[in-house]
């Protein structure tokens, strides 16, 4: 019998292992699968690298500590993790918004004085789509993801991508086409956590 490889196990099955003796290895695999998405969405929501790093820590420790609250019959692990990420990001956003302000009589009083930046709900609006797109991108193979990232985030033409990577132009086009097909498939039928009104 072939030994079971952790990277071949579904997220949901991995979550069942967290209560056992393989917690560290399990978190490690889940980290490899999701840390880029959590970090990227964190950057998008919080706009701050150190806060996004704090978010990654909080989210993965919460996976470990709150694994018993994950119920696969209620949705996929990705759906659950998106909500955990969003809630942790909201918490970090609120904490950042707190300021120390003096009370009228001069006594120091730490209060929830907020700045005029957008409210937390506005901040996370759109994070669901970011999450889904990030997960779809993670489903691409490395070569497909490279051409999409160079084209979209590097603003390179197909020819420039070919020159940059040393891959023939025809291959770049083929990879772009297959990446788009895969993205279309993932975004259409992929995991689509419903945006709850909360």
């Amino acid at each position: 019998m072939m030994p079971e490889r952790a990277d071949e196990i579904s997220d949901e099955q991995l979550m069942l292992r967290l209560g056992g003796s393989q917690a560290e290895a399990t978190i490690s695999v889940l980290y490899d699968r999701y840390s880029r998405t959590v970090f990227g969405v964190g950057l998008k929501i919080l706009g701050d690298r150190s806060l996004a790093e704090e978010l990654v820590q909080e989210v993965f420790l919460k996976i470990w500590r709150s694994s018993q609250t994950f119920d696969p019959s209620r949705g996929s692990f990705s759906t659950w993790l998106y909500r955990v990420t969003r809630n942790c990001a909201l918490d970090l956003y609120r904490k950042r918004a707190h300021r120390v302000r003096p009370v009228p009589d001069g006594d120091p009083h730490i209060a929830a004085a907020r700045d005029s930046s957008p409210g937390p709900q506005e901040v996370v609006d759109g994070s669901l789509l970011s999450w889904r797109v990030s997960r779809a991108l993670e489903e691409l193979d490395a070569a497909q993801r490279e051409v999409i990232e160079l084209a979209y985030f590097g603003d390179l033409s197909q020819r420039e991508i070919s020159e940059r990577t040393g891959v023939p132009l025809g291959t770049v086009k083929t990879r772009t086409a297959s990446a788009f097909r895969r993205l279309r498939q993932e975004l259409a039928v992929g995991d689509a956590p419903r945006e709850a009104s909360r």
């Binding site: 490690s28 998008k44 970011s130 797109v133 084209a151 086409a177 297959s178 975004l187 909360r198």
Partner: protein, 238 residues
Amino acid sequence: MKCADVSANLGAFVLGGMEPEEAAEIRRHLASCPGCRNELEELEKVNRALQAAPPPADPPGHLKEQILSRVRAEEPSFSAETLSPSGGYRSRYLRFVIVGVAAAAVVAMVALGIVFSLREEPPVATIRLIPTYEEAAGLEGYWGVAELHPQPSGNQRVELKLNNFEEPEPNSYYELWFVSGGDRISAGSFTSEGKGETRVWLNAAPEARNSRTLLITEERADDDPSPSETVALKGKLP
């Protein structure tokens, strides 16, 4: 140009990364081919969705080991002191204010004591719960008192008395938890008006009897049953 050729190039076309001559050729084909136009519409949706993509960035390499070491340190038992991964509870928990009787406003902080009893009356043991050890330094008194009254049924009845406990954020409430190993057992939720004494009765299931740690967290009114990491007060039975 045939449909197959166009299809193979439509991804590059919507990204705008083609040579002008090639793009013009594709446009000519699209003008007379409804099937390829449909495919183009689909790919344009993907292209619009990509605008929401987070930047392709990896978290710093040390972060994973940092998290795994925390898991190692906490396994197998859960430690209430490490609930804040950033290494510190936020100063907002200092927003408990006690106004003294003196003419000048004297602000005092109160730490939470827990009185534990095997009998219905009175409770028998006391724990202090504080936001953080650092923030508690220099503070005097108690944040409040929680009296535990084990019931014949096995339930844990808790009378919680908090002084000037700040009201929760909008759409949020507080929840009292018994911590046992890696699990949290809820004793129920409550809110506070921010001033004066908050006194509530809460109940936890018999499984809470073995818990040595209590937490009060701030939870949002949503459908996520996961306990919040936003801990307002914590403490352990002696």
